[in-house]
Amino acid sequence: MYRVLNAGGAGRRRVSDQVSYDDVEVGTELAAVSYPATRLSLVKYCGASGDFNVIHWNERIAKAVGLPDVIAHGMLTMAQAGRFVTDWAGLKATVVDFGVRFSSPVVVPDDDVGASITVSGQVEEKLDGQRVALALTARSADTKVLTRARAVVRLP
């Protein structure tokens, strides 16, 4: 299971492996990374976050309220986009602003594979104060699940 959870990019895991503000160029594309979301992921996120809304774990009620199946917490999807940002930015970076719109639910089937959330991005703007704005997109099952997704990070 640990191997599956780490199927995505390795990220910058050492302090020495750090992107600096001066090296960043506007327009640079950030390679897409896919993150899995299984029913187990949702159960763990329910427990860790305290959000036990039934639509995230009860298929019967999810379908009764008109959803195709159990759906992932929007915040779990946003967390994957956050991981994409911080893995790119490096350990010494800090996120100063992060916003998304949840345009479509991530539907998580009851199987061993679950859903896949693919995040990509682009350096949108260099701002004052060592800050860089990233434009992000996230897709699951060929549907955009995040729109207007943007993060501003402060780099060393």
Binding site: R13, V15, A48, S49, M75, R83, L91, D97, G99, V100
Partner: protein, 149 residues
Amino acid sequence: MAINPDFLGKTFPPGPPYEISRVKLAEFADAIGDPNPVYRDRSAAVEAGFPDVIAPPTFPIVVGMASSARALADPGLNLNYAMVVHGEQRFSYVRPLHAGDVVTAEVTISDIRDVGRNSTMTTTTRISTVDGEHVCTAYSTLVERGGAA
């Protein structure tokens, strides 16, 4: 059965202080599948320039949850939680939360509106330490599907 517009502008007093622990941050990082060492290894976090292990960027939602849950559970608000999906979320950070922070969250209902057949409600949650240091503001828009029908 729409969201009660009388709640627009209402601020809910902060609940009891929330103490951020290393164990909770590691648990949350595990739950989102993020192996980043600054969320669970104090020496890595210190080496990166932080006073202790820090919280992932979406963790403030957990801190705000207890306060916002009380707001959402107010029967007068008339929100059908099974019909609620998350519409938008934004965080504006002064600094990362870290283990050892003791914080409170003050929730204000900053917008209520009907959008087609749905109702939306936006909360603004201001997270500050018990010493009064503002750390993060979270803006959450919830959509009650069919709420305006």
